[in-house]
């Protein structure tokens, strides 16, 4: 199985909404696709919406951190939005604090965060 999660584009921002429990291969595919798309679309930002996810284990957590790191290298910013309270508590207990990953409560606040960071950047 090699499911691929669709990547949407709004202006210079890529938006991914994860809607179901992911297989490891799908997670890896997403990481790869995002890296390709950031370059192909010269995206300034990436938003990963995980509000539908009931579980984030260290594998998915690592993907989020890696995508954030890759996008930084490619001069884009990644914001992870919509993490559920139970998921956040579990990740902290697991020992995964996702340092270096920007977060926002929901998609709207994530978009606002990205536009703030691009408009206040060096002019």
């Amino acid at each position: 199985m090699s499911d691929r999660i669709p990547i949407l584009r709004i202006g210079d921002i890529l938006v991914v909404s994860v809607q179901f429990d992911l297989e490891d291969q799908t997670v890896l595919n997403l990481q790869e696709d995002l890296a390709d798309q950031i370059v192909a679309k010269s995206a300034q930002g990436v938003i990963i919406d995980i509000s539908a996810l009931e579980i984030v284990d260290s594998f998915v957590g690592r993907m989020l951190a890696t995508v954030a790191a890759i996008s930084r290298v490619l001069d884009a910013r990644t914001v992870v939005v919509g993490m559920r309270p139970a998921v956040a508590i579990t990740l902290v207990e697991l020992g995964l604090s996702l340092g270096g990953v920007s977060t926002a409560l929901d998609l709207e606040k994530g978009l606002a965060k990205l536009s703030r960071s691009t408009s206040t950047g060096p002019r």
Binding site: M83, A88, I89, V92, E93, T103, A104, L105
Partner: protein
């Protein structure tokens, strides 16, 4: 055969012709409770119990936990639970049972040797029924205490909205691990429900923290960050500051403010609100 005779003796003791022993019993108990239970209610409770007891004895029951006593136990449980809820003491509850012994006491003076033996056997049964009452009473009180503790936990951890996008939890009293965990979950859920990006944890009213509680607070702050919100801790007392340093708890990367007011000012600034004082407003 012997068993049956016993039963008849015991029943005979409780159903003397021309005497309403149940009425004397009710009278005895009413005196001891000082009228805090309605006369009609008490009359009903004890008469039902009395009938159930006579019935159980007629079937030859001597053990409180036997099947024939189930009716008696049900009545006693109801009685004990009611007394526990109404705030009576354990003695006031058990006296309802023991009063029956006192009602039967005249037998000891005027009764035959057989009747006295029957009285002693019945007294033993009544003793164990009395103990059963106290056990049920204690159990009910325990349940009440547990329920109240849970209610208190709910009440003592309010999450309040201070401003659009700013929520706060004012913590008062001793924090233990269980309570801190409840606070943590309520705070994080409130962030989602209110769409707030700023949270203030005010511990002005907390006398002391231990390592575990401090760890829970730290985890809450990290979890809030994972969800996209920022936390500020305000009202850290000098004692708690000393504890934190003495225990070697890492408080790095956590924003602290002396007072709730300072924390609110910071939270507002972070959410893009400017506070401007009108000229002339200050005297």
């Amino acid at each position: 055969m012997v068993k049956r005779d016993n039963a008849v003796d015991l029943v005979g003791l409780l159903s003397v012709e021309g005497q309403d022993l149940a009425a004397s019993w009710v009278g005895e108990v009413t005196g001891s409770l000082g009228g805090r239970v309605g006369a009609a209610e008490l009359n009903r409770e004890l008469r039902e119990l009395y009938e159930a007891l006579v019935e159980a004895l007629r079937k030859g029951a001597t053990d409180v936990h036997s099947e024939h006593m189930s009716e008696v136990r049900a009545h006693l449980t109801e009685l004990s639970r009611n007394r526990a809820r109404q705030g009576f003491s354990p003695s006031e509850t058990a006296v309802s049972v023991f009063a029956l012994k006192r009602v039967l006491e005249p037998v000891l003076e005027k009764g035959t040797a057989d009747e006295i033996r029957a009285y002693l056997r019945l007294a033993r049964i009544l003793d164990s029924l009395g103990l059963f009452t106290i056990e049920t009473y204690t159990q009910t009180r325990d349940e009440l205490i547990t329920a109240q503790a849970e209610q208190l936990l709910e009440l003592s951890t309010p999450v309040v909205r201070l401003w659009d996008g700013v929520i706060a939890v004012p913590l008062v009293g001793t924090l233990d691990s269980a309570r801190t965990q409840v606070v943590m979950e309520k705070l994080l859920q409130a962030l989602v429900d209110t769409g707030s990006e700023q949270a203030i944890i005010d511990i002005t009213g907390v006398p002391a923290v231990d390592t575990q509680v401090a760890q829970h607070l730290l985890k809450t702050i990290v979890a809030a960050r994972l969800m996209g919100a920022e936390c500020t801790v305000s009202g850290i007392s000098p004692q708690i500051a000393q504890t934190i340093v003495a225990l070697g708890i890492e408080f790095d990367g956590i924003v602290t403010k002396a007072s709730l007011a300072d924390a609110l000012k910071l939270a507002l600034r972070r959410s893009g609100v400017d506070l401007v004082a009108h000229t002339g407003a200050q005297r």
